[in-house]
Symmetry: none
Subunit: 220 residues, 4 copies
DNA sequence: AATGAATGAGGGTTCATTCAT
DNA sequence: TATGAATGAACCCTCATTCAT
């Protein structure tokens, strides 16, 4: 599919990819300011000059990292097969997916945190990213609508709130793991702890969207 | 009788405080690596040398910032007057407090995020911080216990989970405001949006801890 | 066939050499602590960064200076043509060579003095230097052995002592010239004074190694 | 003898002395540029300000160190009891004294080396030092004259050369001990090595000054 | 006599980036 | 495509020194 298919172009693509991969790793580990150009090129087994050749500047490289990271998430999410005929289960499957993705991809969490500490200044420069984030609630909407259609879910729930709820509960545990472990005196990286938390939030999300059998007065 | 009560020593305390304040501001704005020593001393209307005079190094200064930030939160929390005879209300008051604190103190959110990006390496160096974080769930425990005593709250709920739930829901919205606003296409900094979210999570937290009147079993 | 033979690489070698030369000059003039990196790079008509590019650190640069300085001495010494059939003359030629080298190369004397004030800590880090110093007495040994073979020199003389004797007498005059001139009330930098001293020590070294015709015992 | 004899003045003298002592130690260890004002005041269990109170500046303090160091040597030398009726023995006693003083007072050797690396610029500022160094050959002169009077010593020997010879042979071994040990592959700090060297130079000095029973032709 | 607080200049070093081949 | 050489600005930090009590 590449417009250049020569062996040299292939090599070039590999070099570019290696640098991008290295940048993800280094920015995740050291932050944006802390992430050294040299660390990246060294990690990529390339040299500084190549980084500029392919990415123009450190800032542009970070934007590519941001896009790349989000794209990977999108790709994974798009593979999700959700059974809309069972909205409750579908919702819990989505929660489990998001949770597991965050756990397995600390770089996703870190890069987003870094970008937010920078007040989203890089994201603003990327129309590609706006396209990628497209409709963040895209996967969620049909589930909620199906649940509402079946009378299981609240009618007054805001899609955006459901999205934020899920993201909050999955993200924070991972993003703030270190201070939380210290403050709570428990190791949140522990598999058991993670499993317990997933159980708790999976249940919580359901509680958050389902119609409460409010005491007697059927307000149907 | 302390000899360190002269007008000179007072001035010194002020200088120290000014530097600390400036450090909070600069680290919040620029991150740890990005936060320049000169920016801090300039912001404090002092000079680089004094920063080292009072705080030894940039790293130690950051640790002090961490301690200071957490201490301020503790102080505010300790002023909370909660009515334990109405556990449900008390819980919602706590949620509102935490939410409002995070909204009004973006530096608290930012400093914690920075520290987590550094894998908590500074927090580990501070026994003072371990003391301050002490029992993070300290305020929460009596509420939950009161709620359980009154038969309102689930018996199987984990205190730590309740703490994490509240923190997640209040923190993430603020910490990731910028990318979220971009991805959701809505300005999360908007007062109305914030109010709506507080309403949602306040309700959600209650749903999370209350006994579900599902299985018909006589709940009084 | 070496790819490092381009015009570019040549230029690089020159830059490196210029920095090294400048470092010799500056360290000689200002000592190790007193020798400023900026003075060196300025003297070399280069910039600070290149110094680190080629030498990693000030300390490593000093080690290179040490090696370079000693190497130059070795090179000069190896050009000496000594007639071993006339050991006495050869010894005096060696003394004259050492003396003249010290006089003409104050940087050699200074760098060694600096290194000794640092208790030889840089020399210890250089295996290259250990190799260069190799057998310091290498030139001296055949002379002594020839002298002894001819029955001119003492049998009981220690090679190391002869080496130290020559070095002491040549070095100290130059290394401590300034305080000595002040204390003795004479200008030791004066050509005539230098010539007189060379005469004295040249004779002294001979006296030091030759067999004393004291005890009447047939010295035939 | 002090013009102030109050208890406070005594205390002050002690503080001053402690700082001077500390300065000798620190300059010896770290050189002039490398010797930190703070290291000195800390070593003296005093504070920076006191150093300036008593010595005006780092440079002036070094000058005092120089004077003090030389004064101590003078004091020790003046205690020497030499028997001028046995000039040869007296000369060897003097050699032994100088050697032992250098061995036992590395600070004397170091301070002089430092000062020479600075081209004697501090010594030049001290008329006190000029007075102290007075006639450096003062102790030596009567010995040589006595030896000449007894017909034991050469008539053509230059007093200054004898002085330089002794100083060279005693100083260099100590001042350049570290590089020499490395280059010669022997530990010059070893007691036995030191003793051997003293034996060698003691003999050498005698050879240097005594009349040679030149081959037959009595030139008496 | 003694000392904490303050300072400006400059210390060695590293940064992201560009040049030239 | 790839890479060594070069740069200037800025980094964190320390220096000798002075101020004010």
């Amino acid at each position: 599919m590449n417009k250049k298919t020569g062996i040299r172009a292939e090599q070039a693509d590999k070099t570019r990819a290696r640098i991008l991969q290295a940048a993800v790793k280094v920015f995740t580990r050291d932050g944006y300011s802390g992430g050294r150009v040299e660390s990246i090129s060294h990690e990529a087994e390339s040299n500084d000059r190549m980084l500029y050749y392919y990415f123009t500047s450190k800032e542009r490289l970070f934007i590519c990292v941001l896009e790349h990271t989000y794209e990977q998430f999108n790709k994974a999410e798009s593979k999700l097969k959700l059974d809309l005929s069972a909205p409750l289960q579908a919702l819990q499957d989505l929660v489990a997916f998001v949770w597991n993705y965050y756990v397995k991809h600390p770089e996703f969490v870190a890069i987003l945190s870094i970008e937010n500490l920078h007040k989203g200044k890089h994201a603003q420069q990327s129309s590609e990213l706006r396209r990628l984030s497209g409709e963040a609630v895209g996967v969620l909407r049909p589930i909620i609508e199906a649940g509402q259609a079946q009378g299981l879910f609240r009618e007054d729930v805001d899609l955006k709130h459901v999205y934020l709820m899920i993201a909050s509960l999955c993200y924070f545990y991972n993003s703030n793991q270190h201070t939380l472990s210290s403050f709570l005196g428990e190791d949140l990286a522990d598999k058991r702890q993670q499993q317990d938390w997933l159980g708790f939030i999976s249940d919580l999300v359901v509680r958050g969207v389902m119609r409460l059998p409010d005491s007697g007065s059927g307000q149907d």
